[in-house]
Symmetry: C2
Subunit: 137 residues, 2 copies
């Protein structure tokens, strides 16, 4: 039984299931920050077997397209570290030159700030469902 | 004619050409920090067409395997931001719990420190050549 690391559960809202894993949304709404937790025992992104890596990257590309095409973010930051939370998780983050920590990376630099409204979370959950439904067609 | 961004040239040693692009090594030797610059006009990793993304990820996986299997790094951080240098470039970084900025990401947190010896750079260039030769078999 796959379980999401408790630190990620604490930091994020759960949005649903995509083909490669579980989609989370960081509670800090200063930027739009998705976290994808693939269902795997691998701990580093680049350790994934090629087919599994491709499935994960497909999901990340769909999330990035949503951030750019529907939310109009000009830039998407992507990262996989796991130095603090060892469970593999990928960061897909919409950035703009006028966000609170531009041009620095968000990790360690994002001040506590806005939170997502219930309505915004509902919209993101629908997006996750839309991506997952498209994948299962 | 593809040109590497001058900020990357300033920050890095050039190691050679892989299938997807140019391999650089950050001059700061406190961690072993590869930077791959794909030959593309795309500016965000997740905007690459799937075939091109796969070629890039293949190179990143080979660099990660080298860091883990030959240099014994227990952890590899991976990131693609481009908030400061807009040209697409990927970070593939060997990390250990006893490096100078663990567990923080290296970006903005790595103190000026050791530099690579000429011998070390020579070894890394041979590694780049070995990976590229393997790819062209």
């Amino acid at each position: 039984m796959f379980e999401i690391h408790p630190q990620l559960t604490k930091d994020c809202h759960s949005l649903g299931r995509l083909a490669s894993g579980h989609l989370l949304l960081h509670r800090n709404a200063e930027v739009t920050w998705f976290i994808l937790v693939p269902e795997t025992e691998a701990v580093d992104l680049l350790d994934l077997p090629p087919g599994e890596l491709q499935r994960v990257m497909d999901d990340c590309q769909m999330l990035s397209a949503y951030l750019k095409q529907e939310l109009n973010f000009p830039k998407v930051n992507f990262g996989a570290m796991g130095n603090v939370v060892p469970q593999l998780h990928l960061h897909i983050i919409g950035r703009t030159p006028d966000d609170v920590c531009w041009p620095r990376p968000v990790w360690g630099n994002l001040p506590e700030g806005k939170t997502h409204s219930a309505e915004a979370i509902h919209t993101f959950k629908n997006t996750a469902k839309r991506i997952a439904d498209g994948e299962s067609c």
